[in-house]
Each structure stands twice: as C-alpha cells, then as structure tokens.
C-alpha cells in the first residue's frame, strides 16, 4: 500500500475532529481530498504530513508505520508537502529555494563538509531547478528573493520546490486557494505535467470543486471526521450522501 490511513481519531478539547477516518491508496496517481468546512480534511492531512499526531489510528507509507514520526523523518522517506498558507523561504532567491530542497539533510555530514569544502549538491539538481523554474514560468525571477513574488507566484515556487526531490508522496494543501482564477488552468497543467513526469502520489486537499474534479482521478470525500465517499470524480459527484453533506 502506497499510503494508508487507518481509523484515525483526534479530539480537540471535547470536539471530535476525526472519528475513525481512513482510506488506502495502492497506486500512484492524483487523488483529491474534499469535504465541507470542518470535515477534518486539514487534520487528516496534517497527520499524514506529521504536523499533528492522532489520538488513535495509524498512518503507513509503503507499509511502514510512520504514525509518530516527525515531519523531517517523513521528508527523508520521500514525502513532500505544501502549506495552505503557502510557505517559501522569503530571504532566499528562487533558485536558492529550489536548490535547498535538494541538499542533504544530515547535520553530521554537513559539519564535516563545512571544513573539507566538498560540494554536496547532488548531480542534476541545478538542471532540475532550471527546468522546474521554467515549467512554473518563474525563470525570469530565478535570482530575485522570494519575498518579491505575488501570492500566486509564491504558490508556484512552493510547489516547484516540493517537486525538486521527485517525492514519492506529494501532499498539496489547497493549492488553488488565493490563486487568480485565470491562472488556475496553468496551475492544473503544471501539476498534471509534473505528475506525468515523475509519478508518485499527489494527494490534494481542495475546496475548488471544478479544479479538483478536472485534475484528480480519484476523490475521497470527508464529512464529520470520517470518510463519506471514495471513488472516481463522476461517481462521487452523483453520490446522494455527498450531495446531502454539501447542501446540508
């Protein structure tokens, strides 16, 4: 199993945010995670990313239990993520942002290399960064600090930086939020193309129905802390329970 979440439960001071939510994804692809406000999408997402930990239940990546693993350990396994509020390193240039994602993470070896002056950037990282900048149409700003970008551009940079390592699992938290509607097509193309290029699982939490239905091959619907429906977009869109949950 590529990714499995089983019986996840989480309480926030008496409020049950997750109530035995779970799903399993066996194959690579683009999967959407949707649901009305308060359905528990973000909590579930954070548990897969390692930003929050469940009261009960398990998360496994490639069959390996990662439930209690901190985010940096999951990153080491090949998991990358973006944030709803969009996070990039503002002081660094776009190129530095991308290259940082590709650098090794061990402090011990970094300290050693500091005094032996060996270049640690993996071969091909520089070329990969150029390619991603071009795909994200950010190549004109490659040497500008990320802080000057517009929100939409920063979102593209954030996704490009997450793609740097060709992650096996890429978690995208509302990538379309705050993006100029005219640029949504470009974002969708960018994601589809990136997925075709590298494979793996793209798990996308999204509020914009039109965007996610056109992008994902499979949709998981959450409601009141549990999974309500799971299937291809067309089937989910005509599901009675889903329609009721969104209208009710």
């Amino acid at each position: 199993m590529l990714l499995e979440a089983r019986d996840l439960t989480k309480n926030f001071g008496g409020v049950r945010a997750l109530d035995g939510a779970g799903f399993a994804i066996a194959e690579a692809g683009i999967v959407g995670l949707i649901g009305p406000n308060g359905a528990g999408k973000t909590t579930l997402f954070d548990m897969i990313a390692g930003r929050q930990f469940p009261d009960a239940g398990r998360v496994t990546l490639d069959g390996r239990d990662v439930t209690g693993l901190p985010p940096e350990r999951r990153a080491a396994l090949g998991l990358a993520r973006t944030f709803q509020e969009c996070r990039v390193f503002p002081e660094w240039t776009l190129r530095e942002n991308l290259l940082f994602a590709a650098r090794p993470r061990s402090f011990a070896s970094a300290l050693l290399r500091a005094f032996t002056r060996q270049e640690a950037l993996p071969g091909g990282a520089a070329a990969r960064a150029e390619e991603l900048l071009r795909l994200a149409t950010l190549d004109a700003y490659a040497d500008a600090p990320a802080s000057i970008l517009s929100f939409g551009q920063r979102r593209m940079l954030e996704i490009a930086s997450a793609l740097m390592t060709r992650p096996r699992w890429l978690l995208l938290d509302e990538p379309a939020a705050g993006i100029n509607p005219g640029l949504l097509d470009a974002l969708g193309r960018f994601l589809r193309r990136a997925h075709a290029d590298q494979g793996g699982l793209f798990l996308i939490v999204e509020h914009n129905m039109e965007f996610i239905m056109g992008l994902a091959g499979r949709i998981i619907v959450m409601h009141q802390g549990a999974v309500l429906a799971d299937g291809p977009p067309e089937a989910v869109q005509s599901d009675e329970a889903v329609i009721e949950a969104y209208l009710g």
């Binding site: 926030f12 945010a17 909590t43 954070d46 930003r51 929050q52």
Partner: protein, 291 residues
Amino acid sequence: MLAFAEQAVNGLMMGSIYVFVALGMMLIYGVMHVLNFAHGALFMLGGYVAQTIFMRVFDNYLLAVAGAVLFLILIGALLERGVFAPLRGNLRNQVIASLGLVLVIQNTVVAVFGPNALQFPVQATRATVQLGPLSFAVQHLLIIAVGAACVAALFAFLHLTKLGTALRAVSQNPRGALVVGIDVEATHKLAFALSMALAAIGGALLGPLFLVFPQMGDLPLVKGLAGIVLGGMGSIPGAVLGGLAIGVIEATSTLVLPTDWKDVVVFCTIVVVLLLRPQGLFGLRTRDDHG
C-alpha cells in the same frame, strides 16, 4: 514559626514590589505582545525622580511619588511614540530596542547622578510598628498596603470603566476590538501610561528602603519576570499572584539556605517553571497555533 512569620511579611513586601513590575509589564504585553525589558530601568528612574523631588524640591513623600508618576508617564508616552509603535509587528526588533533602552536609561542616570547609591530618608523607614513579638518598619507595611490598593484600583479600573474594558478587549482579541470600534492605538497609550505609573510607584516605594542606585531595578525586573512566568504570560491576576509568590519563596528560602543564594532560588524557579509548565501555574493553556 516566628522566623517564618517575619520572612513571610518580608516576602509579601518584596512580593508587592515585584507585583508592580510584573503588572506593569503584563499591561503592555497584553495589548502590544511585547515584553519591555527596559521596565526595570524605568522602575529605577522612578526611584531617582522621587528621590530628587524629595531631597531638593518639596520634602514631601507623597508629592515626590506623584511627581515620579507624572514624569514616568511622560517618558512612557515618548517611548511608546518614538520606539515601540514604529516597530510594531516585529517582536525581535522591539525587544532588542528595549534592551537598548536599558543601556540608555541606566547610563544616563549614572552620568547625571553618579554611580553611587543615594539616600532617600523617608520617615516611614525609621518608624516601626509592633506586630505581636515582631517589629517592622512602617515602610514595609506601607509597600504592602499601597501594593494592595493599586492592585484593587487597577482591577476596578479594568472591570468597571469603559476604558478599562476596552483595554481588556484589546488584550483578548485585538481584531475583534477593532471591529467593534475600539481605538486600539489609544489603548496602547493607556497601557503604557498605567505601566509607567506602576513602575514609578514601585521605584519610589523601594528607594527609601534600600537606597536609590542605578542597578536598583535589575533584580526587581528579573523577579517580576519570574512572577510573570509563575503566574502565566499574559495573565493580570497571574502577575499579582506570581509576583507575591516569588517574594515569599525568596524570603522563606533564607530560612533553609544562606541569604546569598536567594536570587539563585528565584532564577531556578523561572527555569523549572518554564520547563515543566510553560503556561504558568495559574495561566491558561495557550491555544494551539494551528488546528
């Protein structure tokens, strides 16, 4: 038992001083979310101003305290306008600027008044009262009484007046306060004025007891911070209880440890509380950043 009672009164007295510092810092922290590390230096400045007025102008303790309060409110308005307001939103820069102010205030005082301690001979330090078998300087009891009165007045102000309610509203929810039409800027100025008044009273009360000297605010600052940590960051009642508790812990520690180590006991209290219960003994658990 007698020794304990004596140290308990001493502790309440010093605790009241720490309450002045802790409350003043929490009032500003509540609305501006910044700890003013210059508060100890301002406390010291209050002592100097009161001493100067007392020795050279009026020879009246009450007027001296009032003068110190007015002077510090003025200084506070300048600092709020000139330093803290322009740096709003950048916590690190605000805190570092407040460290710069420590140097400015402390060394200006040294340059003007000299490095040596000055006498502040108020009658109340020499007169004593008999409480059973124990006798205390009137100043001790005065500090406790004035401390209690100021706390009571502050609570009445915060809970019974419109301005006080506005201040509390901004502390709890600045955005909400803005929405309902509270002048947030004005509450910052108000918090600064109240904070400075408390610092001035504290310095003017402590000066006669232990002389007035440039570092007289350093330990009260740290112990006020200890009170804040103990009571829970951001909590006004916590600042009162925490400040008093630190005073009593410190004074009673001298019953079992050499006097020299009482500061260490307080500093260690800070570290231990921060590590075991960072929300403070009386504080509420802080809200999760993301949920």
